[in-house]
Each structure stands twice: as structure tokens, then as C-alpha cells.
Amino acid sequence: MTAREPVSAARVTRAWEVLHGVLDPEVPAISVTDLGIVRDVIEHGDGLEVVVTPTYSGCPATEVIEQAITDAVNAAGLGPARVTQRRAPAWTTDWITPEGREKLRAYGIAPPGSCASEAAASNVQPIRLMARDVACPRCGSAQTERLSAFGSTACKALYRCIACREPFEHFKPI
């Protein structure tokens, strides 16, 4: 048994490397590991189990992501891979890595703030006609306004920068 352990560890490490390259189909700037949805990679006998936590209950990309993960791990010769779901604890945007946040910003999507500050702000008032400050991903100005709380995907809102006049998307903290 002891002789096999380094081999297993290498296989799991290799799988994580492969997963760093599997992109989110709806936000193709960041990978599934940047997003923080891959919770674990476990070796079982000759197969690999990749444990994923879904982002939103109704995210239509969930099945596509699971297929992309299976395909990538199998293509790297590390399979057979199977993806399992772990619902608890629920995914939060706090799990997006610092690199992931930077990639979002560079892609033109304002990354989410921390959920703790969001919760503190929303406890004050259930009604929020105005959202809090979100910095423009292009010019960095904090002078922005929300155009719509919902956008092209469940995870994003639509904003406009008052300084540079560019519209942009904001990855909502949840």
C-alpha cells in the first residue's frame, strides 16, 4: 500500500492541474478551480471522483461543466472520471480565488465583494433600490450605477460607469 501512495498523490495533483484549465462555459475567462466549485478530487481504485458544488440551484451550465470536467480528466489519461455533487456547504462567491477575481476584472466583469459586508449592508433594510459601490473594471472608478439587478446569467448584474461611460457586468456576491 505504501508503495502506491506517491503514485495516487501524483495522479490527484495531475488532475487538479488539468482542472485549472477547464473553463466555466458561461464565463470563459475563469476556470472551475478559480470559481471554487471543485471541492475535492478523490482516487477510488482505478477511477477519480471529482466533487463539485453547484453555483446556483438553477444554473443551466451545471451539466455542461460536469461533462467538461469528465472529458478533460479522461483526455489527460487520468480517468475514468466521475463527477459527484456536494451541496453543503452551499457555494459562495467568497470561494472565488484572488487569481479568479483578477481574471474576471481583466475580462471586463467587476468581481464580487465579500458576502459578509453584503449581508451587513442588507440587514439594515430589506428594500434596496440602490446597490453598494462596485468599481468599474475598466477605469477603476467607484462612480458607477446599477442598471439591472439581473443580467445575461444568474450570477451577474448589469452596471454602468459614470466616469468612463462604459457599461459592464458585475459578478454578484452570494
Binding site: P54, Y56, S57, G58, C59, P60, R87, A88, P89, A90, W91, T92, S122, P126, I127, R128, L129, L147, S148, A149, F150, G151, S152, A154, L158, K172, I174
Partner: protein
Amino acid sequence: MSTTFAPLPTTASVSNAAASTTTESIVFAPTPTQQYLVRIGDTCLVHAQRLAEWSGHAPILEEDIALTNLALDLVGQARALLTHVGRQMGYDEDQLAFLRNERDFLNFTLVELPGRKAGRDFADAIVRNFLLSAWMNVLWAELEKSSDAEIAAIAGKAVKESCYHVAHAADWVVRLGDGSEESTRRMRQALARLWPYVAELFETDGVDAAAAEAGLGPMRMSLKAGWDAIVAPVFAQAALEIPATGAFRSTGSRGVHSEHMGYLLAEMQVLQRSFPGGVW
């Protein structure tokens, strides 16, 4: 599928799905705790179906996207619940959603009431979404403590989603309730139309008692205080008076629906009924 018409079914062949143009319904015999979960799942599903009617028809594009985003969350929540309870019953989510008869659906009557397609006002969609999402928010928070780990996990995600559903609906209730003379009038009318169906959200029966006994989830009547705490300040800010509650009680959660439910199911189920086993 053959495009030629099958001969008219004889009495002997009517029960044979292969000879019929529609799929037979599943046999649905849930236990009380299963009924408890199906009620919640069906309420999410049917509410989503009504919200989705606004796709391409909301007053502004942003709202079109918003309502369908909310519907998407609700479909996801319904899928999770129906998949979970379906495992106990030997059915998958699609069989439960598309192959049950009207009497086997256990959603509250409130969510099946006519929507856009029947000419109902946008105000009805806003008021219903507010009343229901506040209820779901309080329920999900309680279900996080469920003795069923899967239900607690589903609730842990859904409670966060229901927070922004409530916030979005509350924004509209205030904006339209305390808006122009016209918007106020229409919000009052919508509230008067929908309010008689709210009482069902807080009734109690053997299904609730069984769920509470098992630690699966709360009795509905225990949700009232939390719901009031969300709803009352918003209506106050919207300058909308909460109507008095009459003696009428709707019965959708016991499978006895309004006349609108059959039409909703016909549209929702037609594909699976016509093309049995069809998948994306």
C-alpha cells in the same frame, strides 16, 4: 414518431400507451412526509411556470430578464426537491413534473392563478412574487435545520437565492404601490385578487404535523410571524393596506385546484405527453 395517424383506440387499447398519442400518468401514492416535500417542489415549479410567461413580454427588458432569472432559480429548487423525494418513490424529476395528473400536484392555489397569458396585470405578477418569495425565504431558513441532510443542503443554497427574490419583489411593490395614481390602483386591485389565497400558506394539517414530527420541516402556521416581519414593513412603505382575511380557503396543497391548473399543466406537460421519454 410516426407522422401517420393511429386508428382510433378501442376500449381495449386505450390503456395501452403505445397505441395512444399521450403518455400514461404515473401512480402517485406519497406518504405524508413525501407530500410535504412535493408541496414545496410543486409550488416552486408552478410559480416558475407562471413567471416564465413573462419571457419576452415584461414591461421593460431588464424585468423580462429578472423574472426569468427568478424562474430559473425556482426550477432549480424544484428539480432538487423532486429529484430527492422521487428517489424515495422510484420516479425521476421529469416523471414527477410531466407525468402526474392535476389532482396529484400539491402546490398552493396562489401560484397557479392566471398570469400574463390570461390577461392578468403585471401588478398581479409582482404582488404574487412578493407574497410567495417572502414565504419561501422564511421556509428555507427553517429547512436549513431539517433532519434530512439533503433537504438542509438544498435549503442552504435556496435561502440565499430567496433573499434577492424578496428584495427584487419588494422594490417593485414599493415603486408601484407608492407610485402614480394608476399604479397604486392596479396594485390594490392585484392585492385584493390574490389575498384570499394567502391563508392557505399558513394552514396546518396532518402532512405538516408528520413533517414537524419527523424534524423534516416546520408547520406552515409557524412561518406566519417571520412572514409578517418581511411583508408588513414593505406594504407600509408602499402605502398599501393589507386586506382583511375572509372565510375562503383554497385547497391546491391537497390536490384540489382552481380551474386554471389544467390549462397550465396542458402547456407544461404537452411535450412529454406527446413524445414519451423525450430528452434534450
